[in-house]
Symmetry: D2
């Protein structure tokens, strides 16, 4: 399981004084990017080099506690295959305490497609390795 | 059913060249805000005046087609009660053609709570009226 | 002069209850995109087709009045050449009344470069025509 | 001088493949928030407790180099008083190398006002101390 920590910033919040709900998904995507980087997958070159895209096909989220500017959070993620050509990622967003409190549960489902034909294709080996390491 | 139209802007997109998936949810929230405004509910004063909040408790989305900068879209929404103290909204995001193409389906679930106690409470009358009008 | 109207949304605001200052610049960029589209310049294909980029090299802004969720605004823009290879755009963001109130003045300076070499180059003809029409 | 490090994320970028220019300002604001937090100023409670706001009245920026997803950056900031009731902050955004490269210079000017009357007022003592420490 990969864990990503950061602080809630003004840019994450809205006029209700707390994190705007779509930004929880953006924050989870940051955790995903960091976990790819930790596996040696460089976002800026990997997808071009392999001529694939792995777009998010579905997302689901439960928002359990509001997060405010300055809150320290931790995002844990676990990935699992949904076939040879995709994976699902489960995220838990915690507000760090003490005590830590679960603030949101998020899931994203990704499908690997050819950048050219947009047809489904098997995950490139480094992505399959990342998937195994983050199960 | 309320319908909201707008154009995809650079700020909506990411380095993959298309709308960043959390921004689909933000765009749907715009459609929701516009439908409240059309019912005479002023976002900037209504919630304070009624001492309630109606945060998003859950979201779900299916992303069917990428949207690019300059694309014209329409967001249709339908709301339905989930009890006396909440509602769900189903959105369909279409890329305007011809032919129009369904780009995403999004759902948000909202719970009405007291701004003071954060306990669940019945929807204020204008919100119940908006709900009926957008079923 | 091109004029662009829209409503302030939750996504534009921060925990201070008003538009987060970088979002004024993003809103002005929307007005710029709309004025290009009005001149027949399709954002999604134009820059690729002409193998140019016109990045923002400088920005400046004065924030005169806060804008809140639900506010109706108008963004007026005027462009002027800064050479054969660039232009500056002056924006005025007004909160629509009555009475209208000036909320911000923004300027962006753009430089036209080759997408390949990143060297400065003259504006493609359609962009030069847009510039003349929006002076 | 305070220094803030982070990685460029997908959410920071646009369809041109690099950081959307208003997001440079949002990233600099993160550095400012972190420097306040490092001085013991809690964003979520400080301004309410002191009944002041310190909005950005002006911003200026030079964008020197594009930043891409995955780039590691450092934001250095220096603040200086502009009177008893305000300050300016100069930021340098560097892409970490080797070699490090200057990517942007940003300035924000802040004015301290009463949250009630919106009239200018002297900086609260902790903010004056932060200012001295970050000169």
């Amino acid at each position: 399981m990969h864990e990503y920590k950061r602080t809630i910033h003004f840019a994450d919040t809205d006029a209700a004084g707390v994190v705007f709900f779509p930004n929880f998904l953006a924050i989870c995507h940051e955790a995903y990017e960091e976990s790819l980087a930790a596996a040696g997958i460089e976002l800026n070159t990997f997808f071009g080099a392999h001529a694939v895209l792995v777009p998010v096909a579905k997302s689901a989220a439960e928002f359990l506690r509001p997060l405010a500017c300055g809150d320290r959070i931790s995002v844990g993620l676990r990935a699992r295959p949904t076939g040879v050509d995709g994976y699902a990622i489960d995220y838990e967003v915690r507000r760090l305490g003490p005590p830590d409190k679960l603030a949101a549960r998020v899931r994203t489902e990704h499908v690997c497609i050819s950048a050219r034909s947009r047809e489904r294709q098997a995950l490139p080996a480094p992505l399959a390795a990342w998937l195994k390491a983050n199960a």
